[in-house]
Amino acid sequence: MHKRSLSKKLVAASLATLSIAASQAAMAARDHISIVGSSTVYPFTTTVAERFSRATQFKTPVVESTGTGGGMKLFCQGVGENTADITGASRRIKQSELDMCNGNGVDVVEVQVGYDGIVLANARTAEPFQLSRKDIFLALAKEVPNPDGSESLVPNPYKTWKDVNPALPAHRIEVLGPPPTSGTRDAFAELALEGGCKQYDWIAARKKEDKNAYKAICHNMREDGAYIEAGENDNLIVNKLVANPNALGIFGFSFLDQNSDKVQGSLIEGKAPTFDSIADQSYPVSRPLFIYVKRAHAKVIPGMKQFLAEFTSERAWGEDGYLADKGMIPLPAAKRRQVVADVRKLNALTNLAAKQ
C-alpha cells in the first residue's frame, strides 16, 4: 500500500512540475526578434541587432549561428511564435527550401544585404600569384582530368604550381584552408573549384546525368598534404602564411582587409580581391549575402520593420557604414535603393527565376 501511494505521488509531482513549466512557456508572448542562419552573416546581424536595440526601445534580437542550411530548416518550419523571424544565408535560398517554406505556409521576403569575398592569399614577402579558376581546380581537386587529354580522371598528380600552369612559380603546392565543416570551404569549393571544373565540357555534361558524381569531382579537395586543414581560425592561417612565404591560404576578405600589412590576395582571372572588385562582382570568388524575412511575422513581432530599416540604412550597409567596418562588402548604390524599396513593400518571393 505504502509503496504504491508513494510512487503515485512522485509521478504526480513530476508531471505537475512539467505541466506548470509547459503552460508558463505557452503564456509568454515573444517580444524579441529571433534570428538564425549562416555563421558568415552572424557577425553582421549581431552588429545590427546590437545597434538597433541601443537606438530604439526594442529588446535585442536573439541571433543564433546555425549555418545557412540549418537556419533554413528552422525558418521554414512554419509560422508562429516558436519559429524564427529571420534567417541569414551566405547563398541564395534553394528552390527546394523555398518549396518547403511555402508548403508550411511561410511567405519569404528576400533581402540581399551585401557581398563576401573569399581570397587566396600569400605573404607580402613573396610574389603575388596570378591564378585562373582552372589552375585552382587542377591544383587542389582530389581527382583531375588526365593530363594526356583523355576524358578520364586520375588522382591529382601535380606537385608544384609550375606543373599546373607553366606561367606559375616552381613552388610546391601548399594551401592552408578551413576544414570541411566550414561554410567558407563550401563556398570556395563551389565558386573556385567548380568554376574551374565545369570548364571541362565532359565534366559539366555529367551534371545532368549524375549530380552527386559531378559534385564529388568538382568539390572534393585533395588529401595528400597539398591542401592543409588549418582549423576554423582565420587569424591562425594569416600567421602561418607570414611564417611560410611559399604557402597560400584561404579565408574571408575581411581578414585580408585587416591584415593587409602582412598578406596579399592572389589575382584570380586577372582580378585582385578589393572592396570594389568584389562589390561590382568582377572578382569571381565572391558570394552574395542574404537575409530572408518571414512576411507574416513582420507585422506581429515588435520591432521587425524597424530592424529591417536599420539593416538597410546607409549608416549600416552604406559604403562608410558600420557593416563595412566589420568586413561586409556593400551592394552598389542603385541596388541598395532598389532593395530598400522592395523591403518596404515586403513582396514575397515565389519563384527564384523571377528575381535574380
Partner: protein
C-alpha cells in the same frame, strides 16, 4: 627442528627485505610523480589562462572635453524622443577634432574617430538623460576607448607580446600624446561584469551568460534532485529484484554514458517541437540538462543509500517503524551527504555543457540580461566558445577571463561538495 626452520625463514625474509623496500619506494615514488604531473598540468593551465585573461579586467578610457551643443546634437530640449535621435556621435567627433586640430582628410579623420568606442555615444546619452541641465554646457568626460586602442595600450607595457595590429603609426602617435597628457588611463573593467555580449569587445560582458547559467542550473537542480533521489529510494528500498529492475538499472547506467548532444536532440523534439516551449530559454536548457544529470544523481544516490548499514534499517523495523518511516527518519538523513555530493558534481557537469544547448537555441548572441526562465539566454561555456571564435584580438583576453570566472564557480561548487560531506558525514 622448529628453531632451525624459523631461522631459515628469518634469513629468507631478510634477504628479500631490501628488494621489498625498494619496490615499496618505487611504488610510492610513482604515486607522487603522477600527482606532481597532474598538479603541474593544472598549474600550467591556470598560469596560461591567468596570464592571458588578467588583461581583460582593465580597460582604457579616453578623457575628452565634451560640449553638449544643441546645434550638433540636433535637439532643442531633452526628452525621451529627442534623446533617441540626438547625434551624440557628432558631439564626440567634434571633441576629438578639437583635441587634435591638425587632423585633416577623410581617411585621417576616420582613424581619429575610431579611437573612441562606438558605445561612447550611448554613455553620453545616459549622462544627458540623467542631468538635462548639461545641454549647452561643456564638461570633461572619460569615455571608453576602442578595443584596438585598448589592445595597443596594453601591449606597450608588454614588450614580448607587443601587438600593433590595426593601429596605424598615426593612431599610435595620438595615443602617445593622450598618454603623456594623462588623458588616457586604464581603469577596472566593470563592463565585463555588468554587460551582456557585444560585437565590440570593449563593451562585451559576461553578466547575461552568468545569469543564464544560474537560471538553467536552478531549473536543473529543482527537477533533477527530487526526481533522482525519489527514483534512487524506490529502486534501492522498495523495488523487488527482478528482470524489470535489472533492465532499468542497465538503462540508467547506459544513459549516464550517452553523449550529451543526444539529450539536446531529444529536448528539441520533445520540449520545443511538441510542447512548443520557447527557443533559447533557460527553462528548456534546464530540462535538457535534467535528463543529462539524472543518471549521475540516481547512481550516486543509490550508492549512498547502499552505504547505510542494514543494521540501522533492522533496528528501526524492530522498533515497529513502517518502511516509509525507516526511509525518511533514518536512512535518508544518513545518506543525504552522499546524495548532495552527487548532486553538486552533477550540477558542476551541467554547468560546463555546451553541446546539448546547441540544438535548443542557447548558442546565441544575447545582449539583454535574462529576467526569468523563459527569457532568451545563453550560458557561460557557450559565451566562451562564441568569443574564442571571434576575429577581434581583444576577445582573446576576454575569453580567458570568462574561463577564469567559470573555473571559480566550478571550484566553489566542488569545494562546497567537499565541505558538505565533511560536515554531515557519519562514520560507523
Amino acid at each position: 627442528m622448529t628453531d632451525l626452520t624459523q631461522q631459515q625463514v628469518r634469513e629468507r625474509i631478510e634477504r628479500r627485505l631490501a628488494s621489498r623496500h625498494l619496490k615499496e619506494k618505487i611504488f610510492r615514488g610513482l604515486g607522487i610523480a603522477s600527482i606532481a604531473f597532474g598538479v603541474l598540468a593544472v598549474a600550467i593551465l591556470f598560469a596560461d589562462i591567468i596570464a592571458k585573461g588578467s588583461g581583460a579586467f582593465v580597460q582604457s578610457d579616453i578623457q575628452l572635453e565634451i560640449t553638449y551643443d544643441p546645434a550638433v546634437l540636433g535637439i532643442e530640449q531633452v526628452d525621451q524622443e529627442s534623446l533617441t535621435w540626438a547625434n551624440f556621435t557628432g558631439v564626440i567627433r567634434e571633441a576629438l577634432r578639437e583635441r587634435f586640430p591638425d587632423v585633416s582628410g577623410r581617411a585621417e579623420k576616420r582613424e581619429l574617430y575610431s579611437l573612441v568606442s562606438t558605445g561612447a555615444p550611448f554613455a553620453l546619452r545616459d549622462r544627458l538623460a540623467a542631468d538635462p541641465e548639461l545641454l549647452g554646457q561643456t564638461e570633461k568626460v572619460w569615455l571608453t576607448a576602442d578595443d584596438d586602442v585598448d589592445t595597443f595600450v596594453k601591449s606597450l607595457s608588454d614588450s614580448r607580446n607587443g601587438f600593433r595590429g590595426r593601429t596605424s603609426d598615426r593612431m599610435a602617435g595620438w595615443i602617445d600624446q593622450l598618454l603623456v597628457a594623462g588623458e588616457l588611463k586604464k581603469r577596472f573593467n566593470s563592463n565585463f561584469f555588468t554587460n551582456g555580449d557585444s560585437r565590440e569587445p570593449e563593451q562585451a560582458g559576461i553578466r547575461a551568460a552568468l545569469v543564464g547559467s544560474l537560471f538553467t542550473l536552478l531549473v536543473t537542480l529543482m527537477l533533477s534532485f527530487p526526481i533522482g533521489v525519489a527514483a534512487a529510494i524506490y529502486l534501492e528500498e522498495y523495488a523487488p529484484r527482478n528482470r524489470w529492475t535489472d533492465l532499468i538499472e542497465v538503462n540508467i547506467n547506459n544513459l549516464a554514458a550517452v553523449p550529451s548532444i543526444v539529450f539536446g536532440l531529444l529536448g528539441l523534439a520533445i520540449f520545443i517541437n511538441f510542447f512548443e516551449m520557447p527557443r533559447s530559454a533557460p527553462l528548456v536548457g534546464g530540462l535538457v540538462l535534467t535528463l543529462m544529470t539524472l543518471p549521475t544523481i540516481i547512481i550516486s544516490s543509490r550508492a549512498s543509500l547502499k552505504a547505510v548499514p542494514p543494521s540501522i534499517r533492522e533496528a528501526a523495523m524492530g522498533m515497529g517503524a513502517s518502511r516509509m518511516q525507516v526511509v525518511f527518519h533514518h536512512v535518508l538523513p544518513l545518506a543525504m551527504p552522499g546524495m548532495l555530493t552527487g548532486a553538486i558534481i552533477g550540477m558542476a557537469q551541467a554547468l560546463g555543457e555546451t553541446a546539448p544547448l546547441l540544438m535548443i537555441g542557447m548558442v546565441a548572441f544575447i545582449v539583454d540580461v535574462p529576467h526569468g526562465i523563459t527569457d532568451p539566454a545563453t550560458v557561460l561555456p557557450v559565451q566562451i566558445f562564441l568569443w574564442a571564435d571571434s576575429p577581434e584580438r581583444a576577445f582573446v583576453e576576454r575569453t580567458s577571463a570568462a574561463i577564469m570566472v567559470l573555473l571559480s564557480v566550478l571550484i566553489a561548487m566542488n569545494a562546497s561538495a567537499v565541505w558538505l560531506r565533511k560536515k554531515l558525514e557519519r562514520r560507523w
